[in-house]
Subunit: 342 residues, 2 copies
DNA sequence: CCCCAGTTTGGAACCGGTTCCATCTACCAT
DNA sequence: ATGGTAGATGGAACCGGTTCCAAACTGGGG
């Protein structure tokens, strides 16, 4: 049997040097003579030696060269898109990515407690989840660098999305097209995960209405579990109102798909009869011509990693909040109010 | 400052026992008296002690409780869907998921060499990548359990997709609808990643043609980089042929989207003028009514994990190849040949 | 009362790295 | 020649667990 692997002592012996010297070569310490370095490298080559990351981690409390990502429902298109940005920038770094997917609030809590402890990752990017003060205190106690993406805490570096503005942009655009009966369809505002995005977009929606002297009609705000099917059902409820909306703003593009399906299955047209505007600008949105709010998902992932790497480099760097701007992407699912159908 | 953490020696001291005894308690060894166990557990509680997974891993070559996933372009919808299945079943196990995304052949090779070595994961699921004999030999030498999903090697457990049959099913369906000028649009057959899916679907496509006495026309086979935009371009080339196809089979649903865009931008209808059939049945496909081949992506992820866990449990389990069946999903993008347009 | 087997326990050695101190050279300035 | 200094090197100690051998304790049988 081939032996499992050779150790640094084997290399030292073969090269005729001490283990400290081999370690120095591995870590590119400058104080090794060229000749010695050559011998050591030759021995490494000969034995096909590779240092054990585990041992390296144990001594020196060194780097694990891994970054954790705690993310809820990572397969949702918007999260995948951010994930893609994260992966793309991590691949150019020496860090691996450990994925912690969260599907229940209990699981979130368990991860917030377990991950700092295990020391399996050098830092954690938390996406769209709001850690409590106790969680943040624990991160600090275990000396774990944390960066928040699409979440906020005063003591942690964060990238937040300008969701209030996004809600306002979408709503104002519909108002500018002449709509006044504008519905907002979102995830549950009081989700147990403490997602905030839907609530913040709601704020922007309400502000835009107020700014234009349109009263907020609670019947026009539907909320329910995320997803296309649930959105379809909620949209049907909206359309069955005595005074159905002429435009619907959904808290995500995925929900917009369900909304459009529901409208069409009523025999109505988008945008002829009902305008629809989504949120996220996921990959598929350009294909179906969805008017939506773009929040630079991919770019956000990249910036999240950049913040993490900076944090790892200088742990005492200033805690900053970066706000990611949003913008309106005009395509074909929102149109001027059609007077005939009112 | 709160101290970072206490060690097993602190616990031993507080409990007034030896470190070996503490270790025994942690590992639920039966040879510890009830009284001693109680004392040790009390000390653990008092110090809020938690064993370091790194140290545990180093000694005893123990479990890292992590499983690696090596996957190319993991953000492609089909891979995400499998990933979702993998995550869903891993969350009910004690294992973490370490994601290794591959974007270049060099990176693939680097991972095949590095991952076994690092011992950061207890096992690896390799998706859609074909390891060489040397790679497989290395896995064995480092004693790393590997399971292949959508890939094959005689010495490794694998889940393979019945792609030849998938290609045949799609093509036969189009033939049954009366089409004879049927194109096949795929990824590069000789991709540097040694993906095989496109090639196997091509085989099925050719077999179906042969079975029905239709000669294979090389002009009808277009290949190029994966993606919607490239597919759109290749489709335009197909439609510009002197004798354009009346039906197009694409190697993925994502490519089908590009194909449909190209057809429509020529002012033609799907399926009125040109029928389209995709492959994968990704989430969005039902939304756009795409006729396609389903390969149970989510389910495949689950089965991949199941095979991995079994492997971890009994390393010498028989090496088996499971073939994942495929099925035709009829929706609205393929229709009987319209005699008028031929 | 002694001996032996079985149970429980302590602690040294080990896993494979890093770190740091002591030592050894080589070379230059005085 | 002599001392001083910087650079290169060896190797013991250490990181925090596990493992295993030896020793202590226990109780039953002769």
């Amino acid at each position: 049997m081939a032996k499992n692997s050779s150790t640094i002592r084997d290399v030292a012996e073969l090269a005729g040097v001490g283990v400290g010297t081999v370690s120095r070569v591995l870590n590119e310490s400058p104080s090794v003579s060229a000749e010695t370095r050559r011998k050591v490298l030759a021995a490494i080559e000969e034995l096909n030696y590779r240092p054990s990351s585990v041992a390296r981690l144990l001594s020196s409390g060194g780097k694990s060269l891994a970054i954790g990502l705690i993310v809820p429902f990572f397969t949702r298109p918007a999260f995948v898109e951010r994930l893609r940005g994260i992966e793309a920038s991590l691949v150019n770094s020496p860090y691996n990515l450990v994925l912690y997917n969260v599907e229940t609030p209990e699981h979130q809590q368990e991860l917030f407690e377990r991950v700092p402890y295990e020391q399996r990752v050098d830092g954690v990017i938390v996406m769209s989840l709001y850690p409590s003060d106790a969680d943040v205190e624990r991160f600090a106690r275990y000396n774990l660098p944390v960066v928040l993406v699409d979440a906020y805490h005063p003591q942690l570096p964060s990238l937040t999305i300008d969701d209030i503005n996004g809600g306002r942009l979408a709503t104002q655009y519909l108002i500018d097209l002449g709509h006044t009966r504008i519905a907002y369809l979102s995830d549950d505002i009081d989700s147990p995960f403490r997602f905030r995005a839907s609530a913040r977009r709601l704020q922007g929606y309400q502000q835009a209405l107020t700014d234009n002297g349109i009263p907020f009609n609670p019947e026009y705000h539907k909320q329910g579990e995320h997803g296309r099917y649930r959105a379809r059902h909620l949209t049907t409820e909206l359309l069955d109102l005595d005074d159905p909306p002429t435009a619907i703003f959904t808290a995500s593009d995925t929900q917009a798909l369900g909304t459009i399906e529901a409208i069409r299955s009523k025999g109505l047209n988008v945008p002829g009869d009902v305008s629809v505007i989504g949120y996220d600008d996921i990959t598929i949105s350009s294909y179906i011509g969805l008017t939506t709010i773009s929040q630079s998902l991919y770019e956000t992932g990249i910036r999240g990693v950049r913040a993490m790497l900076k944090r790892l480099d200088q742990k005492n760097a200033e805690v900053t909040e970066q706000v990611i701007p949003v913008s309106l992407v005009v395509r074909e699912t929102a149109a001027p109010l059609n007077a005939a159908t009112v």
